[in-house]
């Protein structure tokens, strides 16, 4: 509601939002401060320096890990979006009674805790796992496929599986409020199914895509256990490196600097993305 009553709402919501922003920012600001410090054995020297950022920029390892984190996150976002769209559509538009049951079902694998889930994947993908046994029983291979487990493939399968529900939930909510009338109008105007998707469904569900994408992105980028336990020897992630720096090496400043580098890149990406979106057909199409 605009006008007067809205004003009141604003005054009510403002403090909560402000407190929340502060609360979200506080840990980030602590990290930012630390990122300019230096560690000397267990003492942290508080002379501000850019040394940590210089170290990151100069380290092929960290640069590579950061790039890999973003790459993985984007890949999983893309995969979950592709799978998520039909699923979310189905739940929103085809299921009538059992919606929350289906959503719950989608989420239950999550609540058993990530370790159990990871073990289940090992049972499935392992050298003596269900898939390999099936393949060998079918005579499709004679040797178990070692590459199934402990590989980037395994990692990405598990990541997709883990975070797909979040994409589905985001898209589901968007579909719930997508009025069929718009799709009818598009069909009426002669748009074939693919065009209806591109020109109507996609832009009108973009909040769900953005929300789902953000959640998946953030969680994939922050997940270190899955790559560690399923990704094999190359399962290191930037987050586990940061964890090492915090936990093992006690180099909080460098860890903070890495965290902030990722943050900055993320912000840049979103800024660029927002600009691009405003310019392209995702939100508006010019003739």
């Amino acid at each position: 509601m605009r006008g007067l009553p809205g004003q009141i709402g604003t005054w009510l919501a403002m403090p909560v939002v402000a407190a929340l922003v502060a609360l979200c920012l506080a840990p980030l600001l602590i990290l930012l401060a630390y990122s300019f410090f230096q560690v000397d054995f267990v003492a942290i020297s508080r002379d501000p320096t850019f040394a940590n950022y210089v170290k990151i920029a100069g380290s092929e390892t960290y640069r590579g890990l950061i790039a890999r984190a973003f790459g993985s996150a984007l890949l999983v976002v893309a995969i979950t979006a592709v799978i998520g769209y039909p699923v979310a559509w189905f739940i929103a538009k085809r299921v009538t009674g059992a919606k929350s049951t289906l959503l719950t079902l989608l989420l239950v694998p999550l609540y058993s805790g990530d370790l159990v889930r990871i073990f289940a994947w090992r049972v499935l993908l392992g050298a003596e796992g269900a898939i390999n046994r099936t393949l060998m029983w079918l005579g499709l291979t004679t040797e178990p496929l070692a590459g199934l487990l402990f590989s980037p493939l395994a990692t990405h399968i598990a990541l997709t599986y883990n975070y797909l529900p979040f994409m589905v939930i985001g898209l589901w909510l968007a579909f719930e409020s997508l009025d069929d009338a718009w799709l009818e109008a598009a069909a009426d105007l002669g748009a074939p199914a693919a065009d209806r998707f591109r020109r109507v469904t996609l832009p009108l569900t973009s909040p769900g895509l953005i929300a789902g994408g953000l959640m998946v992105f953030v969680m994939v980028a922050g997940d270190y256990l899955t790559p560690q336990l399923l990704g094999g020897a190359s399962g290191i992630t930037i987050i586990s490196a940061v964890n090492d720096l915090f936990g093992t090496a006690f180099d909080w400043p460098l860890g903070s600097a890495i965290a902030w580098t990722m943050l900055a890149i993320l912000m840049l990406c979103f800024g660029a993305g927002a600009l691009a979106i405003r310019r392209t057909a995702l939100v508006s199409e010019g003739v």
């Binding site: 890990l65 050298a127 190359s234 093992t248």
Partner: protein, 328 residues
């Protein structure tokens, strides 16, 4: 009852190990478990010191705590069983600052190579991680920079005296062989339960390990082997330490517990149940030869052949190197 809180490994605070202590003392114990040494330090360092009465740091890590001024010296008057410490632990400079002991050795053991004897032809040594390709993709290494680099150094023949103070050239050499190692690994392991699992499912046939998988899986009928590599065996020792700020009744109760942990009742149960060796000789004579053998205390001189973990001065660079290898 006096409440005290012990931050420790899960396998050290089993109720039956401690039952005699509670029967004799009006003390209530709360336990909080740790997953890695470093996590324990981070936890204390981040502000948990004053709420914990007793912690269980690795001997090589005590330096971190003392440098951060987190500990108080052990009052040996209140820990009579400390007199029974094995010589190696009495003499060690680790855990001490200016002659005061801050972390008192508590229990110890080795981190050997554990392997599936049914799937390997010969007893491996460290070279299995660096040479040949018979076990490519079937090996595992702990994801831990300190031990990883120690093993590479041992494989390269770097003497123990230089091992913790590697120069740049040595580090470069280490990195080179670690890269070779990585190409042979199925994965790096993080928790001992995870590794046990990998052995059991046949994903991994040989790994740098702790001892529990060896015993656990043998007990479950798998033909496991435990190798003590000729290039050197990594020895470790955990201490118990009392954070600064613990005082009064709680301090008294804490030291009573410390004394119990170094005494015969606990030692016997740990040796049988662990199986781990206590740092004192309190329970040694109560154990059978076989039990003694299991925990390496039948011939005490073996302790001197172990390469005991120390904290390298350039630890941060070690961690960075380790990450570089993993990320390559």
């Amino acid at each position: 009852a006096t409440d005290i809180l012990w931050m420790t490994w899960e396998n050290l605070a089993k109720d039956d190990y401690l039952a005699p202590f509670f029967a004799a003392n009006d003390v209530a114990l709360t336990k909080t478990f740790i997953g890695t040494d470093d996590e324990q330090f981070a936890k204390l360092r981040a502000g948990g010191a004053s709420s914990v009465d007793l912690i269980t740091p690795g001997l090589d890590k005590v330096e971190f705590y003392t440098a951060s001024d987190l500990l108080q010296p052990i009052d040996f008057d209140k820990v009579p069983n400390a007199a029974l410490l094995y010589d190696t632990f009495k003499k060690t400079p680790l855990g001490k600052v200016d002659g005061e002991t801050y972390g008192i050795p508590f229990y110890w053991g080795i981190n050997p190579i554990v392997y599936r004897a049914d799937l390997m032809d010969e007893e491996p040594d460290w070279s299995v991680f660096f040479e040949g390709d018979k076990y490519n993709g079937k090996l595992a290494m702990r994801d831990y920079a300190l031990e990883g680099i120690m093993i590479a150094a041992m494989y390269l023949g770097i003497p123990e005296s230089e091992m913790f103070d590697l120069d740049d050239a040595q580090l470069a050499e280490v990195k080179k062989v670690l890269m070779i190692q990585k190409s042979k690994l199925r994965t790096y392991w993080n928790s001992i339960g995870d590794l046990t699992n990998l052995f059991a499912t046949g994903e991994v046939v040989c790994a740098f390990s702790w001892v529990p998988p060896y015993y656990d899986l043998r007990a479950k009928g798998i033909d496991m082997g435990m190798a003590k590599p000729k290039e050197g065996v990594i020895g470790w020792c955990d201490t118990i330490a009392v954070p600064k700020g613990v005082e009064g009744e709680r301090l008294d109760a804490t030291f009573k517990l410390v004394d119990y942990l170094l005494g015969p009742d606990y030692g016997k149960m740990l040796a049988v149940g662990g199986p781990y060796a206590q740092s004192t000789s309190a329970a040694r004579d109560m154990l059978s030869a076989e039990e003694q053998e299991k925990i390496f205390i039948s011939d005490l001189s073996i302790m001197d052949s172990f390469v005991w973990k120390k904290n390298p001065p350039r630890y941060n660079e070690w961690v960075a190197l380790w990450n570089e290898v993993k990320a390559s």
